[in-house]
Amino acid sequence: MSNPYEVIPATIYDIVQESPLIRTLRLRPDRPIRFKTGQFIELSIPGIGEGPFTPSSSHFVSDVMDVTVMKTGFVTEHVHKVRVGDRVGLRGPFGTWYPLEKFEGKDLLILGGGCGLAPLRSLFLTLVDEIQKYKSITFLAGAKTPADCIYKQAATEWQRYSRVRFVRAVDAVPAGESWGEDVGVVTTLLPKVSMDTSANPAVVCGPPVMMKFGTFDLLNMGFREENIYLSMEKKMYCGFGQCRHCVMGRYYACKDGPVFTYAQIKNEEGLWD
């Protein structure tokens, strides 16, 4: 059996500074890493440390991988210092994925905010690769300010697909910045969505407070608990249910998640913390 702690080295071939605090590393692993959209990997900076991140590229691509990282702590500070040509390490993939087969023929709602857009970009790019399988995709994306919006080219590119509706909102527009789209927290976009909520799936990923109130809003709109897919962020340290840091009651976020349905985990303690 292979060593689960094994690190696959990767070379950074490009870096996209998405916003002041968020950048996307574009990596070429020494050997292809096949994953399913929604799964996560552990990204190591040699001699510094590692952290869990979700690839933000399509799962149909395995020779290169995009990883979008927000500067928020010790390891991510170093992720924001690396340069093109540097070597980083990857472990994984780990965890569960979005059940694409359950989305087929459905109107899918995707609700995301901030750095939570990273796995959703992966999901979206994977979906549009086989767009004919899905009835429609409504993607609601939030950010704090226009400057904090990530995947900036995406708005125009992603709108190209006839079955896709991509709507953005920012919480506020500071003086000196301009914004021609919606203003308000991303959940304020929900009333604009008209779709049959009783049988269609919704995917949520973002900061904990957004996940919490987004989920409650979806439930109020009539989405069913088992059709709401959450990407949970806990401290996934090892990736395979050994270190126990990400335990949520009887579940491990790393092994039984990160993709859970709300029905699965609604009674677990510390869900939204």
Partner: protein, 358 residues
């Protein structure tokens, strides 16, 4: 098979000799006086005379011999060494069964743990004494082993009754037979073993008669958070209880490579430490001590059973002994279970009150 105690010790000594090709390392309990107490430490067999197979469990759990406090796991540094660990008590053996399920399963095999596990022979011994904090009988345990060992020793007078529990154990028994004087187990010896075991079980039961048994522990989850606050007021969050627990295996994985190499080292972590479950950005599901304190109990009695179909507590009492705040596990469980039930559940969730306090 029945063998004299002195002969078993002589065999262990001879198997630890450099020229013996049986084992490269023999580890067994050393009996030492610390203050006015006699305690046991796991030690490598050498010239000392203070080795003592009986008694009760050692200060350190045998976890430390299979799952190091700090171990390089990529590239794997553990090299198999044929070793014998003797004098293992039932509580530690039971803990090893939980660790086996956690660290060697269909989804995951910890490479270092597997190396140590595969290269070790375990010789367990029935308890002949009970430590002041011993409480295996409260959590479904017994002061003697019925499974999980390669070879088990039950003391009757100045002799041991030996029983093999695995192929490795049967082979070892054959080797012992060749070098020592052994007689077959008769009905009288079997009866003596049962009597000794019953006596020990009674002893542990008696010293814990004031405390609650694990069948009732599912009630821990419903307990009022304020009771946990009361119980944890002496807790300084040092993590001694989790580090010394024979079933705690939470780890930190450190990256200790150079500029272009990757080296992964795992060390013990503790759910009692504040940074344990903290995620990027600073949020934590358990920011307060009382929540982390409670988490350890729920992990042992609710989460681990649902993960591994066995309690996370073997009743060794090390957490109680190691606690600088003198918190007795058994008293906490009793107090929480006996506290009046909390007010009807708040619709905002079980931690709603806690949130308001923060």
């Amino acid at each position: 098979m029945i063998i004299k105690v002195d002969d078993v010790m002589a065999f262990l000594r001879s198997s630890a000799l450099a020229e013996s090709d049986l084992f490269k390392e023999v580890i067994l309990p050393l009996r030492l006086k610390v203050g006015d107490k006699e305690v046991f430490f796991l030690a490598r067999l050498d010239g000392s005379d203070s080795y003592f197979l009986d008694g009760y469990r050692a200060v350190d759990p045998i976890k430390v011999l299979f799952y190091g406090a700090r171990e390089q796991v990529f590239p794997v540094a553990a090299k198999p060494v044929r070793r014998l660990i003797a004098g293992v008590k039932a509580c530690d053996l039971k803990a090893l069964q939980l660790l086996d399920r956690a660290l060697i399963n269909k989804d995951f095999v910890d490479p270092a743990y597997k190396v140590w596990r595969d290269s070790t022979t375990i010789l367990s011994v029935d308890c002949t004494e009970a430590g002041p904090a011993c409480h295996c009988t409260l959590v479904g345990g017994k002061p003697y082993s019925e499974e999980g060992f390669d070879l088990n020793l039950s003391r009757i007078g100045d002799r041991y009754v030996l029983k093999a529990g695995s192929e490795k154990g049967r082979e070892l028994l054959d080797v012992i037979k060749c070098t020592t004087e052994a007689v077959d187990v008769d009905a009288q010896a079997e009866k003596a073993v049962l009597e000794g075991r019953a006596k020990m079980t009674e002893l542990v039961q008696n010293q814990n008669s004031d405390f609650r048994r694990s069948e009732e522990y599912t009630g821990l989850r419903g307990g009022d958070l304020s009771v946990w606050g009361q119980e944890s007021r002496q807790c300084v969050g040092c993590g001694a209880c989790t580090n010394i627990c024979p079933t705690c295996y939470c780890l930190i994985l450190n990256e200790e490579g150079g500029s272009d190499t990757f080296v992964k080292v795992r060390s013990y972590d503790s759910c009692q430490w504040q940074g344990y479950a903290r995620v990027a950005g600073g949020a934590s599901p358990r920011p307060r001590m009382r929540q982390r304190f409670r988490n350890r109990y729920l992990c042992k009695f609710l989460y681990m059973p649902s993960n591994f179909q066995t309690l996370g507590c073997t009743g060794c009492g090390r957490c109680t002994e190691a606690c600088p705040g003198q918190i007795d596990f058994r008293t906490v469980v009793r107090d929480v279970l006996e506290a009046p039930p909390p007010e009807p559940e708040n619709p905002l969730g079980p931690n709603a009150q806690e949130r308001r306090e923060i």
